[in-house]
């Protein structure tokens, strides 16, 4: 770093003393020029750190031990360390806990010659144990008598592993916010050490590392994994990783093992909650998260901003822009300094500069909104601001829409139905730009609350039309969810005509859509595929039935050799790994005796899956029938079953599938999903005439 006069000025650990000194430099240069001076930058960031902690917390911290002052003298004059601390994730606000952790690490290890290399690591640990999303759990684990998770031990652990070359090379480049996904794992320090020693894989295999642990719901002692005793007989004898590896677990334990194994090698990772499941994600590079066990989407358990994969993507965009974030932190700190000094206009200008430096930073945007609320803006001004948010956030529209919803009442409450529908249409157009995320339900989270704000049935029909038109041009999943909402909200309430009108108008109005009514079949095909992508049983069923007059003729009759039980697949949904030479309107027929057709692309392992709503406790069996033509394409095949949609158990396998393959399930076999896979030596098409499921 460039040295300049005054760079080593000692900085008082007292905000009241620091502020006048900083303010006295006003006019000595432009803010940007001042930011270029190490002494100014240190002082400004130091002021911000002390301000965030709060004066009472800092006073208490200083009173605890004389070492606090010694530590602060070093920390507050180190702009890189201050930057690492301020950019470590969720703001460490209203507490000196983060400073206390840094003090502990600095007192124990600050004198080591390579300590400067590990300031980002120390900052990440300080964040995770004080403000991070799992800070409470980590604080509890800190005090455990056996297998604790202690900040200083964790610092030493990663520092020592790095020194020994036992971490992935990416570790050395990670900043504090990224290191949070390494050090913030909740298993004990000894579990991390054990995993570093015993779970060594190439980076590419860590998304599958969960499978080192046997999937097992009941222990050898007969205790269920859904209770506290499953691993308890060994939990005082061995760390969590050893315990899981030796005694098995289910999705939560498997994913935690895989994630912690990666983290133990310095690779950022997170477990992620999904409905009835826990999956995982491993980060291969900045912005490149790869899922394991059904990840990376859902609700990540480590984050800067809570949410789904869209919020992880936003974090990558904001925090991954090192230069932008640097400027934003400095401008934000300056804004706080000036506001505290009563210079509101200058503070607002500094905040605007911070937002300009990092326009997608949610904390800055929330601060900006808070300031705007103090100014009593008019409805049109708020509407224009909301509009600008949608535009500026580009593909990160989910967080932008969430921000907009916080201010919607300020410009929408006085609006009539037409005005509201016009705004909601913009929301859906923005939502359609977002990357695919099954965890963001455009219907439940957007359409449903929007519809509640409308007063007439006609307005709700218009809303559905706008939403369908927007999502028809977007990703398939959201389109399917909107369709499902339309089916549930209108068709199932006897307003099928309104749904039909909205659907037809949306198809006609959608970008690139052909208004020719003859193209309705194509639109229905897309809608059915979207319903399948959204895994929406009601939308799939309703659309398939609505499209019945357009369905091609059923295949020639065939005497079926059905398994025992009653057919339950005719109320189900079917979907394939891909679609080619395929008529989605014929999918529904596959689930019943009349037959239909479903056709994938040529793939090594194409699959076709059926989901029975609610599942069955006693599966009768499955009948799979090949299409009339090209029957040679299906040879080695297998059928698996699942009750959670993520964990699959084999049901049957055939080296040479017959035309009709009847599988009888063992008594008491539970299933909700049934997956048919072709195991091809080289890519091949997969197509079925029937996929019938029975239950006893």
């Amino acid at each position: 770093m460039r040295a300049e006069p005054g760079a080593n000025v000692s900085i008082p650990p007292d905000r009241a003393a620091l502020a006048p000194k900083l303010l006295a430099t006003e006019g000595a240069g432009t803010p940007e020029e001042l930011f270029g001076l190490t002494a100014y930058r240190s002082s400004l960031l130091a002021h911000e750190v002390l301000r965030l902690a709060g004066d009472p917390a800092v006073a208490g911290f200083l009173a605890e031990t004389p070492d606090s002052a010694r530590f602060l003298a070093c920390f507050l004059s180190d702009p890189d360390w201050l930057r690492a601390y301020l950019a470590s994730g969720r703001p460490i606000k209203g507490t000196a806990d983060g400073l206390a952790i840094l003090r502990e690490i600095w007192l124990a290890e600050g004198a080591s010659p390579d300590f400067a290399n590990y300031r980002e690591l120390a900052a990440a640990i300080a964040n995770q144990w004080s403000a991070g999303p799992n800070a409470n759990a980590l604080r509890i684990k800190r005090n455990l008598a056996k297998f604790p998770a202690k900040p200083l031990d964790r610092f030493r652990l990663f520092r020592n592993l790095d020194r020994a070359g036992r971490l992935h090379p990416m570790f050395r480049k990670l900043k504090s916010w990224e290191l949070g996904f390494v050090v913030g794992q909740q298993w004990s320090d000894s579990a991390l050490v054990w995993l570093n020693e015993h779970a060594n894989l190439p980076l590419e295999r860590y998304p599958d590392a969960c499978w080192a642990v046997e999937y097992k719901g009941t222990s050898d002692f007969g205790d269920t994994v859904q209770g506290p005793l499953y691993l308890r007989p060994w939990s005082d004898q061995m760390n969590e990783a050893q315990n899981a590896r030796l005694h098995g677990s289910v999705c939560g334990g498997l994913s935690t093992f895989g994630v912690t194994a990666a983290a133990a090698h310095g690779i950022p990772s997170y477990t992620v909650g999904q409905p009835g499941h826990c999956a995982m994600a491993i980060r291969f590079a900045r912005g490149d998260w790869r899922g394991g066990f059904g990840g990376p989407d859902g609700s990540p358990h480590i984050y800067v901003w809570q949410g789904n994969i869209h919020y992880i993507d936003l974090m990558e965009a904001v925090f991954g822009d090192d230069a932008g974030l640097d400027r934003a932190l400095l401008w934000q700190a300056r804004s706080h300094l000036l506001r505290d000094a009563g210079r509101a206009d200058a503070a607002d200008a500094a905040l605007a500069a911070a937002v300009k430096a990092s326009p997608l930073h949610l904390d800055l945007r929330r601060e900006e909104i808070a300031r705007m609320k103090e100014k009593n803006l008019s409805s049109p001004q708020w509407a224009a601001y909301a509009d600008s948010l949608l535009k500026e956030f580009g593909k990160h529209t989910h967080p932008a829409i969430d921000l907009c919803r916080e201010i919607e009442p300020l410009f929408l409450s006085a609006s009539d139905d037409a005005g509201k529908v016009a705004w909601f249409a913009k929301i859906h157009q923005a939502a359609a730009r977002a990357t695919e995320s099954w965890a963001w339900d455009a219907a439940e989270q957007l359409l449903a609350p929007q519809a509640k704000q409308l007063t007439s049935a006609a307005a709700r029909e218009s809303l559905l039309r706008e939403a369908l038109a927007a999502h028809l041009g977007g990703n398939g999943s959201s389109f399917g969810k909107v369709l499902e909402w339309g089916v549930k909200g209108l068709v199932e309430r006897g307003e099928g005509d309104a749904f039909g009108r909205a659907f037809a108008a949306a198809v006609a109005a959608a970008p690139n859509a052909n208004p020719d009514p003859q193209k309705m079949k194509e639109a229905y095909g897309k809608a059915i595929l979207a319903a399948e992508a959204a895994r929406s049983v009601p939308a799939f069923q309703a659309l398939s039935k609505a499209a019945a007059p357009l369905v091609p003729a059923a295949p020639s009759p065939l005497k079926l050799d059905l398994p025992p039980g009653t057919i339950v697949s005719n109320t189900a949904i079917i979907y394939a790994s891909s679609s080619a030479w395929d008529d989605p309107l014929a999918h529904l027929g596959v689930l019943g005796e009349s037959g239909g057709a479903i056709h994938t692309k040529d793939e090594a392992t194409p699959s076709i899956t059926v989901e029975i709503p609610g599942g069955v406790a006693n599966l009768g069996g499955v009948l799979l029938v090949k299409n009339d033509g090209n029957q040679h394409r299906l040879k080695r095949v297998k059928v698996s079953r699942s009750t959670d949609g993520a964990t699959w158990f084999p049901l049957a396998e055939s080296a040479d599938m017959p035309r009709q393959w009847k599988i009888e399930a063992p008594p008491g076999t539970a299933a909700r999903w049934l997956k048919f896979e072709a195991l091809n030596e080289k890519p091949e098409f997969c197509h079925l005439r029937n996929f019938i499921v029975t239950a006893k």
Binding site: P202, W211, K216, G222, T605
Partner: protein, 404 residues
Amino acid sequence: MIPVPAMIRTLLLLLAYPLAAIAAPAGFGTYQDVRAAAKAGPSDFVVFYAGPDWRPETAGVVRALEAPGGRGALSRLTGWASLTAVDLTEENLKKLPERPDFSPYDLPALALADADGRTFAVAEGLTAATLPQALKALAAAIPVRERRDALFEKAKSAKGVGSAKLYGQGLDQLPFRFSAARKDILTEIKKADPDDASGYTFKYTFSAGGFHESVTEKMIAEKKHAELFSLVDRHLRNPVLLPAQRQALLAAKMQAYRSLDDIPKAVATLREIIRIDPQSEMGVGAVQYIRLLTEPVRLAGLEWESGDNRPTWLPMVADVSAKVAEPGTYQIEFRHRDGHTRFRKAALKSGGRQIATDSNPNESNKFTLTVPQSAKGRPIELWVESQGTGWFAGRGEIVVTKEK
């Protein structure tokens, strides 16, 4: 960020970590070629699972294997294949006509497979220092595999239960994890011995977790304890079971006794599990299980943690001498921070003698206890019956207040 197609991303990744492609020892063949040659032989072959490339150990193992005589005790085998980080991606594994049946999670690793590609011995987490010993151990598995195959051959010409026993003895030669995967042999055993007089079908289809889920839990729920005991006893008479399988069967009895609240018999059953093999996973676990069912929980201070919760009512003991030093009436509150722990019947004890009690039939978290004059200045312990609930998340602090 500009979206990068998956293929380009993989390519960039490979460029970023170029060692990934060169971590295989020189002179090793591809998995596909070596396996085909072994089948034609027929002969055993070795698979080297390379990586991870940044670990110092990996390069050491590769160098050791490349050195003259580096293949040690396995040098007489000619088929040596390597699978690198790139080969081991799911995408590339799918391309193999026959993929390896073993997936190690601690690399570098070596696996020994028979001519049919079935793994029968492995060594994981290798270093240059552990390699010679690992090679010896793998080589020692070859005559065992030969014995196994000889028994299988003998079994083919035998009939009925005799044939099943020979197949079973063949399976018994190698570690259970590999033998349990031999569904082809299991089919032969079932064919030869449909009533399982040999016990081998049960042995090689038994899953402890599966047994507890489909039998133990169900029979306990249906109050068929006697039937469960008799079923377990019948299985325990199977002479070919592994110690771990016997222990798991006994655990079914232990759970049945627990469900009847007969803790002494549950503990006696756990002691049987320990007797079978005290050093085994179940043996070690049973010692801890007995503690969980019988021993008072002694707190280090005036706080309890989730680990202090127990599945059954047991005393929780805390030294409260400093807080109840003076005679008088005290309110003692178990203030939760998380979860819920149940509390009932509290007592103060001094010198092993009870000096105050509160029966607390409604399981309140607050107790009122009076310290008599006679206890003044003596060490005093709080004994309270407690039981965990749910996930045993209950934790908190014990707050002692003297009434005015």
